[in-house]
């Protein structure tokens, strides 16, 4: 109580009613959002650690059941998407080469085609575009499948049978998505580089194929291969974890599955962009 008998909150209202009313509402909304975001990050990190522990601890357990499931997931996250990635590779070659080479030739800077291809396709667009397409095609299916299974009590059934739901449901999806993201990104980059030259050829730019591929080979460094591998595996891991987390880790009702799918996709995109930003820092650090 203050000297005039009012509570501190009442005293603030008397002194500055506008700020006393507006600021708490604004700050409360921000605070709630921040706490929700932190809670989600905490949940996803915990889920990732649990999955890693299960992945390592049960690596050989029930392998005659789990390995075929992993193969199915690799098939779903990899082989089945090859036609779509072939189309994307052609499109990416057009976007990057068709536009860039034309301008570089006008500026007389055709020698920069190699570095441009490496920076644009190998380091940035290839991994990110590949990851987002896999997220759209497979990540959404993860949330729907697991969310529906959870809502219908199937996860409870697994627990009653002594089957670890993370081992049975999450591990195959994580391994499949990591392998699929890595392999498809490599195919996407190779396809974009090859189709890129096709666009150069069609634009009648005086660049011989051996010179085109030599420039790219010179611009590529050993670290590009290492970081490309790490980045695509990180994308695959985080997308699988976030989508499985939203489908599996929380109680859910059937009518909430669509909302959980939207949330999982949004958070996966944010996570991939954050990982991409971290890799940009690494690229800039190592020059």
């Amino acid at each position: 109580m203050t000297q005039d008998g009012s509570t501190p909150a009442e005293a603030v209202q008397v002194d500055d009613p506008a700020s006393a009313l507006a600021l708490p509402r604004w700050s409360a909304a921000v605070g709630r959002g921040l706490l929700r975001a932190l809670s989600t990050v905490q949940g996803v990190v915990a889920f990732a650690l649990i999955t890693l522990a299960v992945l390592l601890r049960k690596a050989g357990a029930a392998h005659r059941l789990i390995r075929p499931m992993i193969r199915r997931e690799v098939d779903r996250s990899g082989l089945q998407l090859i036609p779509m990635f072939a189309f994307l590779a052609v499109a990416l070659g057009l976007v990057v080469i068709g536009q860039t080479v034309s301008w570089l030739s006008r500026l007389g800077a055709i020698d920069f085609i190699g570095p441009v291809m490496v920076i644009a396709v190998v380091r940035e667009l290839g991994p990110l575009v590949g990851a987002l397409v896999i997220l759209a095609r497979v990540g959404t299916a993860h949330v729907v499948e697991l969310g529906t299974a959870r809502a219908l009590g199937e996860i409870e059934v697994l627990e009653s049978l002594g089957i670890d739901p993370v081992h049975y449901c999450v591990v195959p999806r994580v391994v499949g998505m990591m392998a699929g993201t890595f392999a498809l990104t490599v195919y996407l980059i190779l396809g974009a580089i090859v189709s890129g030259y096709a666009w150069v050829f069609l634009q009648d730019i005086p660049l011989r194929p051996e010179e085109y591929f030599r420039q790219i080979a010179v611009a590529l460094r050993g670290m590009d291969f290492v970081l490309l591998g790490l980045k695509t595996l990180a994308f695959g891991f985080i997308m699988a974890i976030v989508t499985c987390f939203h489908g599996l880790a929380r109680p859910i009702r059937v009518e909430q599955v669509s909302r959980a799918t939207v949330r999982a996709v949004t958070q996966s995109v944010i996570a991939c962009v954050v990982i991409d930003a971290l890799f940009i820092v690494v690229y800039l650090t190592i020059g």
Partner: protein, 269 residues
């Protein structure tokens, strides 16, 4: 069956002042101060109305939920069990869900063999071979390659029973297995579980301890040995079912009188 039988008269379920929570409503207690002992080879029916806590009691007994309060031991092992090192003890209990609760992405055959494949590391053919006796006893052979959505509820329910039996449980818990079944299937279930309790099946040479939750005691008169009642958030153990038949307790009389039309159709039905 290779698993050793529990000695007769051995405690299978020991609940001491257990409070049972709700699976779907966190923080809600559905049963309080449950003191309940089930011995090996007994056949219990637990009667209760809808939302009386039957399913939550079975989920706690199966080790899916920890008791809110009190202690629960299954075959001498403190429950629930989540550690891999104690998994064999956990597998001594089988739970049959209402409606079978099959995994929709798997065929009936894959659903049945799933626990064998996971815990015994078998391929599908080997697991089918191990489960053949159970599958034949439950007359499921024609349906094995169909998805759950392609068969009737009664076959899904039987597949759920087969999935629990392939792991040779010492204790079998069944959540309202007769709901939604017609007369023929109801009679089959009662007779089958009666024989299972006595160890009369070819795939089971030893008696199995059985607990069934029900909404009517009358179909079980010939096969069950003991009964209990769920009422007002408590479990009342009534002891021998034959003794309970003479009870003057109004709720017991209600559950005894409540006959499924499948067994004794009322005129006009």
């Amino acid at each position: 069956m290779s698993a050793a039988a529990s000695p007769a008269g051995h405690r299978v379920i020991e609940m001491d002042n257990v409070s049972v929570g709700s699976l779907h409503r966190s923080g809600v207690t559905v049963l309080e101060r449950v003191n309940w002992n089930v011995e090996s080879d007994q056949f219990w029916v637990v009667a209760g109305h809808h939302a009386s806590g039957k399913s939550d009691l079975l989920r706690t007994a199966a080790g899916l939920m920890a008791p809110i309060e009190g202690s629960y031991r299954l075959l001498g092992e403190s429950m629930p069990i989540f550690e891999d090192s104690r998994m064999e003890a956990r597998l001594k209990v089988g739970l049959v869900f209402n409606g079978g609760q099959l995994l929709n992405q798997l065929t009936l055959g894959e659903n049945i063999t799933l626990p064998l494949r996971y815990h015994r590391d078998l391929d599908e053919a080997e697991a089918r071979g191990r489960a053949r006796a159970v599958i034949e006893a439950l007359q499921l052979s024609p349906w094995l390659d169909l998805m759950p959505g392609g068969v009737g509820r009664h076959w899904q329910q039987r597949a759920g029973l087969a999935r629990a039996l392939v792991m040779e449980p010492h204790l079998l818990l069944l959540d309202d297995p007769l709901s939604g079944l017609d007369a023929r299937h109801t009679a089959w279930w009662v007779a089958f579980l009666g024989d299972l309790g006595l160890g009369k099946h070819a795939f089971s040479s030893r008696p199995t301890t059985i607990v069934v939750t029900v909404d009517s005691l009358s179909p079980w008169r010939e096969v069950a040995t003991h009964c209990a009642l769920l009422e007002d958030c408590t479990l009342s153990s009534l002891g021998l079912l034959r003794g309970a038949e003479a009870s003057e307790h109004p709720r017991v009389r209600e559950f005894m009188a409540h006959r499924r039309w499948a067994f004794d159709p009322a005129p006009g039905i």
